[in-house]
Symmetry: C2
Subunit: 152 residues, 2 copies
Amino acid sequence: MISQTAEYALRAIVFLAMNPGRAHTTQEIADTTKVPAAYLSKVLKSLVKAGLIQSQRGLGGGFVLSKSPDQLNILEVLNAVDPIQRIRTCPLGLQGHGTVLCALHKRLDDATALIEQSFADSTIADILARPTQSTPLYERPPTKDGNPCAYE
Amino acid sequence: MISQTAEYALRAIVFLAMNPGRAHTTQEIADTTKVPAAYLSKVLKSLVKAGLIQSQRGLGGGFVLSKSPDQLNILEVLNAVDPIQRIRTCPLGLQGHGTVLCALHKRLDDATALIEQSFADSTIADILARPTQSTPLYERPPTKDGNPCAYE
């Protein structure tokens, strides 16, 4: 229901949220998120442009989150790369409708609004705090040895 | 949030529901729904294949709904042409995850399930019964002169 680009962006954001404390290169993020590096590079640029992540240059450079995971929600990530499209005017271009949607398009837009709200209500911290038997992005839960990228 | 194809399919279904009593040709449906006829033709084929509409041959032939609008919900229409994709297995292909989604993909799939349920709960009759100031597909409300295609 969300685009491949949006899903890739969420993988990258979740990776950075799970691996705080230092910057991570595109290749490092690509290796774990399994997103093709060239594609990921474009996604990261969009996330930088939207202010959700920062690029740090030089030795030890790479990307870090700009915000705390509890201040960053799923909707912001989607909107940074591939915004959810609301229906604002009649898709048929009927002049008499304009911005007054008919029942069909109102129903579709209501569903879109529902999803938008649902994503706005979910922070990245919520995702990380929600226990399931699988750890996002990793085969096994991370170890606590101070090197969060060396889990596997 | 739904595809162009899915939205076109809904326009066609709503047209047929609003204009019962006789079959309608692809061109007739295209004229009112403002869907390109060649594109619409493919959409109608998918709807026939899914059993939601029937094709009638010969003079006065065309398409009619197979079901009453109160027995036909939005989800069935979407699934006939461009099914909503649930997340059933780990999109990263992590073997340890398999069908046990991590919190990220569970959250995305939960949102998809929410939309799926919302569309399953809305029949085409519900749409037609829901008053707004705009009539689906038409500039002005249909007249009651027995010729439902001659509204405008």
